[in-house]
């Protein structure tokens, strides 16, 4: 028994175990999502995060130990963002044709995302650091963490709020936009990428390649616009 626990102590501190666990949790979550016919509620990120969180809490593994292994997966977010240039290039004609609606939706969407998130959290009495953490919730994690920490928000809390937003947005996007009569794949994808960054973009690619490309553009542009407007909005709330 002491041999087994010795092995656990050794493996639990190694990157191999937590990298493998991350991949295993996602493969399992993706199978469950496929078995549920890709129902929006069976979101693979939500299922995988829930499973891993349960494992970390029951084994008493600190998050930094887990992240030593998981960082190899996390690192690929950067190259994957660069890779979005390829579907963007493939759909360059559609994008050029939709330039005006794209810019109008970008401005309206960015302002809505920041003002409504800060306004509601403020109404619930959230303190200033929490408001700074939730303000950039719709943009991709790397940008959001940078924006929040410049304004006194905790980057780790920001990451949690960003991923939660992505999961919620990916779940809601298709049913909600369908109910509102937004059927154009470009408009749907752009909304999903703007409101729910990479997780919304992944959802859009699942539905349609044109939707996925517009989601990728929305994610990139919203990162830039949000970084510019968050300080202004927080000042309006007296922070």
């Amino acid at each position: 028994m002491s041999g087994l626990s010795g092995l656990w102590v050794y493996l639990a501190a190694s990157p191999l175990l937590w990298l493998t666990a991350t991949l295993a949790a996602y493969v399992l979550a993706d199978r469950v999502s496929a078995a549920c016919g890709r129902h929006p509620l069976a979101n693979p990120v939500l299922l995988a995060v829930g499973l891993l969180a349960a494992v970390l809490l029951t084994t008493g593994t600190p998050y930094p130990t887990y992240f030593q292994g998981a960082q190899f997966v996390h690192f690929l977010l950067g190259p994957a963002t660069v890779a979005l240039a390829v579907p963007l290039w493939r759909n360059r004609r559609e994008v050029a044709q939709a330039l005006l609606p794209l810019l109008a939706a970008l401005l309206a969407g960015s302002v809505t995302a920041v003002v409504s998130a800060v306004g509601i959290a403020w109404a619930f009495g959230a303190p200033a650091p929490v408001l700074a953490a939730i303000a950039p919730k719709s943009v991709t994690a790397a940008i959001a963490m940078g924006v929040a920490s410049q304004l006194g928000g905790d980057p780790a809390l920001t990451a949690t709020l960003v991923i939660s937003t992505g999961i919620l947005g990916a779940m809601m996007a298709w049913p909600l936009l369908g109910a509102l009569g937004v059927r154009d794949p470009a408009a749907r994808g752009f909304a999903a990428g703007l409101a729910a960054h990479g997780i919304g973009t992944a959802r859009a690619f699942q539905a349609d390649p044109v939707a996925g490309s517009f989601a990728g553009i929305a994610m990139g542009l919203n990162g830039v616009v949000t970084a510019a407007i968050v300080p202004v909005v927080l000042r309006l709330f007296g922070l």
């Binding site: 960082q71 660069v82 409504s116 998130a117 959290a121 960003v162 937003t165 909600l176 690619f205």
Partner: protein, 122 residues
């Protein structure tokens, strides 16, 4: 395959350097995406007969990354285990803010896009 990986990492690195040097609040990978897009456009102009990027090693690599894009958010998402105290204190407010704000953002963005597209077509 290695050449394609080098292209992605090289664009990201150039983007990080440009973001750091300019002091703009734009993240390096987003600038890297813009750079790669520019390179693809330039390549088409300069060598119109070259095979499209999908027919090169870049195609399968990009597909592999983007098909599994959801996986890449799992490590950061698992960070929720560290947020117990904040979530206990502000949980309901944060949940309502995330739900309502995300739904509102989706609706406004999708609706404005569609409305302006219709207006332009007229």
């Amino acid at each position: 395959m290695l050449g394609a990986l080098l292209l992605l990492l090289g664009c990201q690195l150039a983007g990080e350097i440009a973001a750091g040097a300019s002091g703009l609040p734009v993240p390096g990978p987003v600038l890297g995406m813009a750079l790669l897009f520019g390179l693809l456009v330039l390549r088409e102009r300069l060598r119109p007969l070259a095979p499209p990027p999908d027919k090169t090693a870049l195609g399968p690599l990009v597909t592999a990354l983007l098909v599994n894009l959801s996986l890449l958010f799992v490590p950061a998402g698992t960070g929720v285990v560290q947020q117990g105290p904040v979530l206990l204190q502000n949980g309901p407010g944060l949940l309502v803010a995330l739900l309502v704000s995300t739904a509102l953002t989706l609706a406004v963005t999708g609706w404005v896009f569609m409305a302006v597209a219709r207006w332009v077509r007229r």
